[in-house]
Symmetry: none
Subunit: 204 residues, 4 copies
DNA sequence: AATGAATGAGTTTTCATTCAT
DNA sequence: AATGAATGAAAACTCATTCAT
C-alpha cells in the first residue's frame, strides 16, 4: 500500500524529530539516512510540515484504537478475576503505549513541540493527561461498582495512580535510545508502585 | 554590574528559547525584541551557544542556592510545629521554583533540549528528579524522626508525594505564558493533593 | 563528464584566487562572474576550501603527467641530435608548464598561499624547486653520459641552468594577466640564457 | 619618538601580514597579540590600510639607505683587495637584507600582495629585481674597470650571479619562521654558488 | 519514482570602523 | 591613550523548495 521509501522517510523523520525537534532537523538530515536526494522527498510529501502532520495523524489513529481496545476489554476483564486485574491492563497500557517504539518517539516529539505549537500542545494534553486519566478513572469506577475497592474520589485516585507512572515514564523512557535497560528501570518502578497502590487500597 | 543590554539579551533569549527551543530561535528573533542589531550580540556573547550556557549557569546557581536554603530551614521549621509544617516548605518550593518565572522558563527549555543534548539531559534529571526527590525524602525522614508520621519506606513516600506535583506542573505550568489562571490551577491541584496526602498519612 | 557550471566555477575561482589569494576572494566574487547565485556553488562544492582543493588536485595530476612525459622523452630525444637537444625539452617545459595558463595561475596561487598553509608550501616546493631541479639534473647526467658535455657537478649545473629561468618566470610571468608581451619577455630572457649557458659549456 | 603601542602594532601586523597576507589578517587578530582593544588601533592609525602603508614606507626607507650605503662602499672596498672583495659586499647584502628579520617579512608580504595590488607589484619589482641587478651590474663594471675580471656582458653576469641567490632565498628564507637552520641552508647554498662563480670567472 | 541543478530567503558570524567617554 | 558599546556590510554557509527531465 505505502511505498517502501515513504515508510522509510516517516520512520527516519520520527527518529530525528524526536531527538532534536522539528525545526532542528533538516530535509538533508533525513535524506542522508533514507539514502535519497532531497528533491525526492517532495514526490512523497508536499513539504516538511506534511511529514510531521502525517506522523501525528498516524499516532492519533494508533492511540485512539488502543484506547478503544482498552475500554472494551474492561468489563470482560473485570469479570474473570482470578489473576490480578490490573496486571493485564497495565501490560497493555505500558507495553503498547509508553514503551512502544513508535508511541514513545511521538511522545518525545509532542513534548518538544508543544511549546511552539498550540495545536500540538492540545494533542499532548489529550494523550498524556486527559485520556489516560479518563481511562484510569473508568477502571476505578468499574472496580468500585463490583466492590473490589471501596468507594471514594475516583478522580483523585486516578491521579494518585497515574501521576507516578507519568513521572517514571518521563524519567526513564525519555532519554536517548529506548534500551531494554531503560524499559526495565521503568517497569520495575511502575510495577512496584502499582503493587503498593493496590495493597494500600485493600488495607484501607 | 551587568550592562542593561546583556541582561535584556538573556531575558529575551530565555523567553524565546523556552517557547520554541534553542535552534528554532534565531539571533535575528532575539535582536528584534532587544532592539539591537544582530552584530551587537557578539559584543556581549561569543556566540549563540554562549547565551544558552550562561542561562543554564545562572539557573544552576539559583537552584543550588534554593536547595541549600530549603535544607537549612528544615530542622528549625519542624520544631515550631503550630502551623502545618509542609505549608511553609511547599510555599518556598512551589513559589520560588516551579512558579518562579525564570525557573519555569528554564525548565521548559531543559525539557525541550534534553533530547538533543545529553549534558542538558543530566541537568534536567538532576533538578527535576534527583534533587526534589532527595529533598522530599529528607523531609519525610525528619518527620519520621520526630514521630509526626509513622516509619515507612521514605523513598516511595517521596515519589508518592512529588510525582503528582511534577505531573501538575507539567500539566498546568508548561503551557504558553505563565498566567495567574494557570498558577491557580496548579496551586489548587497541588495543595489539594498535599492535604489529602497528609490526611491519609495521619489516619494510617 | 563534468558539468559546465562546475568547470566555470573552477576556472573563475582560479582566476580570482591567483590574483588576490584564497581568503581575499569571496564566494560572491566568484558567483558574480560565473553568473549563478551564491547558494548554487554549494551544490557543486562542499565549501570554499573544496574548490581550492580540487584545483590543487587537478594541478598535481597535470604536473605529474607532464613530468612523466618529459622524462620518457629524454632518451629518444638525446639520440636524434641534429637539432639542439635542449630546444625541444625547453619548449615543452616552458610552454606547457610555466607559460601554460592553468599552471601559471596555480603557481601564483601556490606562491601566495604557501605562507599561510604548510601543506601548500610543500606542494610549491615540490613543483617549483624539487621536481624541476631533479629533471634538469637528469638531463645533464644524460648529456654527460653520451659525452655531449664534460663531466662535472650535475647538481650545481642544474641550479645554474634553472635558477635564472625561475628568476625570469617570477619577473615576467607573475604579473597581471599573462599577455603575449610578458611571454615574449620571458622567452627572450630564457632562451638567451640557455644559449649562453650551452655555449659556455662547449667552450669549457 | 614613537609610542610603544604603535611600534608593537606595526611589528605584530607585519608578523601576521607576512604569514597570511593583508586581507586574511583582521584587526582583531592584531589586537589579540598587541593586547589592546580593537578600537584603540584607530588612535594610532587611520585605518587598517594605513598600517600596511606605514610598513611599506619604512621598508623603502631602510632599503634605500642600505642601497646607498652599499654603493658608497663599492670604490673603497675594491681598492683594498687583500680579502676577497665579494665577501664583504655579500655579507652586507645578505645579512642586512635577505636575512634581516624586518626585510625578510616585508619581502614575503610584497610577494603575496603583488598580485592584488599593482602599486605593490612595482615595489616588489624594484627591490627584488631592478635594484639588486643594478647594484650587481655596478659591481661587475667596477671589477672589469680595475681588471679583476675580464670584460664581458655585465648585465648577464649580474643575472648569472643574482638569480641563484634569489632562487635560494625563495627556497630557504621564505618558509615559516626564519630559523637559524634556514639561514644556514641559505648561507651554504649562496656562498657555495658565489665561490664557484668567481672561480670559473678567474679560469676563463 | 527519483534526481540534477538551481535559488531566495535565511542562518550564524566576522570585520572594519565610529564615537562618546 | 585607551576602551565599551554599537553597527552596516559582508562573509560563508544552510535550508526548504521548485522544476525540468
Amino acid at each position: 500500500m505505502m511505498g517502501d521509501t515513504k515508510k522509510k522517510i516517516l520512520e527516519i523523520s520520527l527518529d530525528l524529530f524526536s531527538q532534536k525537534g522539528f525545526s532542528a532537523v533538516s530535509i538533508r538530515d533525513i535524506c542522508a539516512q533514507v539514502m535519497i536526494k532531497e528533491s525526492s522527498v517532495y514526490y512523497h510529501f508536499k513539504n516538511k510540515q506534511a511529514i510531521f502532520d502525517e506522523l501525528l495523524y498516524r499516532f492519533e489513529q494508533v492511540a485512539t484504537e488502543m484506547m478503544i481496545r482498552l475500554e472494551q476489554s474492561l468489563p470482560a476483564q473485570s469479570c474473570s478475576m482470578e489473576k490480578p486485574f490490573y496486571q493485564t491492563v497495565c501490560d497493555t497500557f505500558f507495553e503498547s503505549y509508553f514503551m512502544d517504539d513508535f508511541c514513545n518517539k511521538i511522545m518525545r516529539l509532542l513534548l518538544i513541540e508543544q511549546f511552539s505549537n498550540s495545536e500540538v500542545k492540545k494533542i499532548y494534553d489529550r494523550w498524556m493527561f486527559v485520556e489516560p486519566l479518563k481511562f484510569q478513572n473508568q477502571v476505578f469506577c468499574t472496580l468500585m461498582g463490583i466492590g473490589i475497592i471501596p468507594n471514594s474520589d475516583s478522580e483523585y485516585l486516578a491521579v494518585k495512580y497515574y501521576a507516578p507512572i507519568y513521572f517514571f515514564a518521563q524519567r526513564w523512557l525519555f532519554c536517548g535510545e529506548l534500551s531494554e535497560e531503560q524499559k526495565n528501570s521503568f517497569r520495575n518502578a511502575a510495577y512496584h508502585h502499582i503493587e503498593k497502590f493496590f495493597t494500600e487500597m485493600e488495607v484501607a
